[in-house]
Amino acid sequence: MAPTPLAVSIAATIASLVLLFGVLELVRRRRLREKYALLWILTAVVLLILSVWRGAVSGIATALGVSYGPTVLFAVGALFILVVLLHYSTVISALTDRTVVLAQKVASLEQRIDELERGQDSES
């Protein structure tokens, strides 16, 4: 199969670079933690490689029997989005668990403060 059309390659390269620098800028401004940026950076780097290396996409397309090469770019992009979303679902689950523990802790602390205040009232 012919390599990726040049226009597609250029557009995809620009899009990958925008994603990569966008993620790095968010980390620099402390809007995104390094921990959660790593998966996005991996996504951007893989897409960048596939965009620049025009033979790679057509090679994968031939191996998979895909008739229109650049479809592989979409497929890889979609796969990474799924992985990122799944990762975020686990992160949200962990955050939910922590919120529950925090709420329970606050309730327990309020009860203890209440008890201490009552103890003071009865002394005075």
Partner: protein, 241 residues
């Protein structure tokens, strides 16, 4: 007036070792208050620490080393401590060496002092992989801060009020030891290394396991490089956060 100093001991399932560490600090430096940050331990860490006479801050769940240590710096900031020194709960930082780390901060010679294990013979033997990792980050951090740094992974460190203010506001979360040196330099703190003896770990596990090494290297390198392009954060004034 004498300077008030707080020893910050982050502890996760260290019931077996933390009691001895607290008692050794009280023996060596009775003037230093001890605060144990129990990072969501399942074992009796908090109970053991309280019975040994330490201030205990018990986190409701495991925050990881960065979040735990920062809890200690926030406590030091809120309670007006002049100096804070980090000591590991597993006994690898001998309290008999504490004064070497505290003194240059107390005398005003440096804003942050790191007790390092490589400048003196006979203290510590670590694995080859660990040595290479430590050497690589030492080189990277030395390049960034343009000062010779030999041990970026040592958690045996002391800071003055300015350092407490910085770490109270901003402290790296996952693997903080390497990044804090670059962060402190960025905020104009004067760093100093002093050689200290360190013990082999008594109990518990290292916070960095082998399988996590790759993630550790990538994450810390990313943080160090991006940190170069960050602006310093404004430090809190007394009474503020």
């Amino acid at each position: 007036m004498a300077k008030r100093c707080l020893a910050i001991i982050p502890a996760f399932n260290e019931a077996g070792a933390v009691g001895d560490v607290i008692r050794a600090i009280q023996r060596e430096r009775p003037d230093v208050d001890v605060a144990v940050i129990d990072d969501g331990s399942r074992d009796a860490t908090a109970k053991v620490a309280r019975e040994a006479g330490a201030i205990v801050l018990q986190l409701p769940f495991n925050l990881g080393i960065g979040g735990a240590v920062q809890t200690g710096y926030k406590y030091a900031w809120d309670n007006g401590y002049d100096i804070a020194i980090q000591v590991d709960a597993d006994g690898q930082h001998p309290p008999s060496e504490m004064s070497k780390v505290i003194d240059p901060v107390a005398s005003g010679e440096a804003d942050m002092v790191i007790g390092t294990r490589f400048r003196e013979e006979g203290g510590f033997k670590s694995s080859a992989v660990r040595r290479i990792g430590i050497a690589m980050f030492a080189w990277l951090v030395s390049t960034i801060i343009r000062e010779k740094v030999t041990d970026t992974t040592s958690g045996f460190r002391a800071v003055n009020r300015k350092g407490i203010a910085l770490f109270e506001s901003d402290y790296p979360q996952d693997y903080p030891e390497v990044e804090t040196q670059a962060l402190a330099h960025k905020h104009g703190l004067r760093l100093m290394e002093v050689p200290v003896q360190m013990e082999e770990r008594q109990a518990g596990e290292s916070s960095i396991k082998l399988w996590g090494s790759f993630y550790y290297v990538v994450k810390v390198t990313l943080a160090l490089v991006i940190g170069l392009f960050r602006k310093p954060i404004p430090l809190p004034e007394e009474g503020g956060h």
